[in-house]
């Protein structure tokens, strides 16, 4: 998928729309989720539309500034709130984009279905608005006085890359499980959801392939990559597979900042602990391997 000629103008228009809508941030302390070591807030923000989106924001108690961390939304209706281990170390923000639980009024996303909603036209594609939601979330986190601007990470899938590309301020990016990257090629190599949503769509509308290619060229992280200036970690799957080293080479080459790779072992604890330690090292805090203490008595 080639980079469209009006790629910059398309996203500049999103920025302009966002800039015209006040964020109107609202933070409410949630006693149920607040711990002795971190305050926990429900956050509401306004994104383009205008549309009210939601997030969870946890801030360590004590004197800041704290390293900041943003979790971009996964593909699904629910995102877990920030993890206990992250609340101990970071001022951490997890966003629910429009359509997801807690941001599903008036628009409730369908799964499967969201990936192709409005996809025939870049102007109507739902991910134009969802990326705007992520940008608004980034603006919220980056505006917080308690974060250390020199230590702000972002974690997620393609949305983490797009957000980091369009909102300089993230010093570190961790991206895995990419969906929009080379999606029209990927769809020919898998029948697993959510990519299968594209195959489903084209089975019904086979003459829409060119339109889908065009729309998806705006959300492909490959075309956003040069604007990512922080240090990026990409997780790497099996050789020859989607997500493998060879598959990721164009993205690696295109990224603007330093790029590191982590070859996944598929041992979930091994992978988690390595990735957690990488981000902790980058942001100057301690690693938290997921080994739990057994309470005495």
């Amino acid at each position: 998928m080639e980079r469209p000629d009006d790629f910059s103008a398309y996203w500049a228009a999103v920025d302009d729309e966002l800039a015209a809508v006040p964020m109107a941030a609202e933070m409410e302390l949630l006693p149920l989720r607040t711990t002795p070591f971190a305050n926990f807030y429900a956050v509401k923000l306004t994104s383009i539309g205008p549309y009210r989106i939601f997030g969870y924001y946890a801030v360590p108690t004590g004197d800041g500034p704290f390293p900041g961390l943003m979790n971009t939304p996964r593909y699904g209706s629910v995102n877990n709130p920030p993890h206990y281990d992250d609340r101990e170390r970071y001022a951490v923000f997890t966003l629910m984009h429009r359509g997801q639980r807690l941001a599903d009024r008036p628009f409730a996303a369908e799964y499967p279905g969201l990936l192709t909603l409005g996809i025939d036209d870049p102007a109507t594609y739902i991910y134009r608005s969802i990326v705007a939601d992520c940008l608004r979330g980034a603006e919220f986190l980056l505006s917080r006085p308690e974060i250390d601007r020199g230590r702000v990470g972002i974690v997620g899938d393609d949305l983490a890359l797009l957000t980091a590309a369009r909102r300089p301020g993230f010093t570190n990016v961790m991206a895995s499980g990419l969906t929009w990257y080379r999606l029209m090629e990927a769809r020919q190599r898998t029948s697993a959801y959510p990519v299968e949503e594209i195959n489903d769509y084209l089975r019904i509308y086979p003459d829409h392939e060119a339109a889908l290619s065009r729309t998806l060229s705006y959300t492909d992280p490959l075309h956003h990559a040069p604007q990512v200036t922080g240090t990026t970690l990409l997780t790497v799957g099996d050789a020859g597979a989607l997500g493998g080293q060879e598959w990721l080479t164009p993205l690696t080459d295109a990224l603007g900042g330093t790029v590191e790779h982590y070859p996944l072992t598929h041992e979930g604890a091994t992978d988690h602990d390595w990735l957690d330690a990488w981000m902790a090292r980058q942001l100057g805090t301690e690693a938290k391997p997921r080994l739990w203490a057994i309470r005495e008595g």
């Binding site: 006693p31 149920l32 989720r33 711990t35 699904g76 209706s77 629910v78 995102n79 877990n80 709130p81 993890h83 206990y84 281990d85 639980r101 807690l102 409730a108 369908e110 799964y111 499967p112 029948s191 697993a192 959801y193 299968e196 489903d200 769509y201 089975r203 019904i204 072992t265 598929h266 041992e267 979930g268 604890a269 091994t270 988690h272 997921r290 080994l291 739990w292 203490a293 057994i294 309470r295 005495e296």
Partner: protein, 324 residues
């Protein structure tokens, strides 16, 4: 300093099986049995292929709640009926599976969406987080009373389908799907022929909450922090919903698999369930694996285990890896 961890298989549990556990669930199953199923099926061309037809289904469950699901069935032109049936039950935050890949293997496959899940949340919607602790101090209104029943009720839907061989019905899922595999195999032990439960959640609830700070069990720790005086009432309720206490009811062969470093569903609790089983059983445990429970290596074993009992016609095809 953290205490040294005992081997997971020796950890045991503090869950206690209430004397009236069987009667409690017999009453619930009798209550739901009296409710007409009212099944509906709507063909979904968008999600159908040359090999598989996909339907959106609905049926009535406990309290009159309308429950949704996906039903994927081989086309007769691809594979002739009858088919074994497989219920695919969902994880806590994951979407109900659209089980097209299982249907390609020859199963009449149902992706169940119990109350509160998308498309089943019009009448009941505690949210996420929220489901785990909704009415947790009252066993008669606790969230999982209806949730477990909705999953078990999917068996009744399958039994209405003429293309299904009623002697070959299985159930499979991971995480909360592992829990629902357990409860469905127990509550419908008259029908379920085999189960495969990954990283089983909702086993040893209170033990698990003591062992981890990961979601969703952290919801319980939050609740106990805010309402410390309710811990006893929580335990009293949860003993009626604990997968370990369902174990003696299961008669079919069960495959259980766990990650030995699972921070979401501690393997100690998976073993406590496994040790309580009194049926043909098999355990696969993966060192250094977490809530993935070794699915990278385990998925072919799950397919083979289910196929050995359910005998799908195209067992050489492969399903999408089961997510928790």
């Amino acid at each position: 300093m953290p205490a040294a961890r005992r081997p997971a298989e020796q950890y045991g549990t503090t869950a206690v099986r209430p004397p009236d556990f069987d009667a409690f669930w017999a009453n619930i199953m009798a209550e739901v049995a009296a409710i007409p199923l009212n099944p509906t099926m709507v063909h979904v061309p968008m999600r159908s292929t040359d090999e598989v037809d996909t339907f959106e289904i609905q049926y009535d469950s406990l309290g009159g709640v309308r429950v949704a699901g996906w039903y994927c069935v081989p086309k007769a032109s691809y594979l002739p009926p009858p088919y074994p049936a497989l219920l695919i039950v969902p994880g806590y935050i994951s979407e109900p599976t659209l089980p097209k890949s299982w249907a390609q293997m020859g199963y009449a496959a149902v992706g169940v969406a119990p109350r509160g899940k998308l498309r089943s949340h019009r009448q009941y919607n505690p949210g996420y987080p929220g489901l785990l602790t909704d009415n947790i101090t009252d066993r008669n209104t606790y969230s999982y009373r209806g949730f477990y029943t909705d999953a078990a009720r999917a068996v009744d839907f399958v039994l209405t389908r003429p293309e299904v061989d009623k002697s070959r019905i299985g159930v499979h899922g991971s995480s909360q799907g592992g829990a629902l595999t357990i409860t469905t195999a127990a509550l419908r032990s008259d029908v379920i022929a085999v189960g495969a439960a990954g990283a089983p959640y909702l086993c040893g609830y209170m033990d698990a909450a003591d062992l981890t700070h990961s979601w969703p069990y952290e919801e319980m720790n939050d609740y106990r922090r805010l309402y410390p005086d309710r811990a006893g009432a929580m335990r009293e309720t949860l003993d009626y919903f604990d997968g370990i206490n369902f174990a003696p009811m299961i008669r079919c062969p069960m495959l259980v698999y766990v990650g030995l470093a699972d921070d979401v569903c501690p393997p100690e609790t998976g073993y406590a369930f496994y040790n309580a089983l009194d049926c043909p059983k098999e355990m696969h445990a993966y060192p250094r694996c977490a809530h993935d429970s070794g699915i990278y290596w385990e998925m072919p074993k799950v397919e083979a285990y289910l196929a050995a009992y359910l005998k799908p016609a195209a067992y050489t095809r492969h399903a999408d890896p089961t997510q928790g």
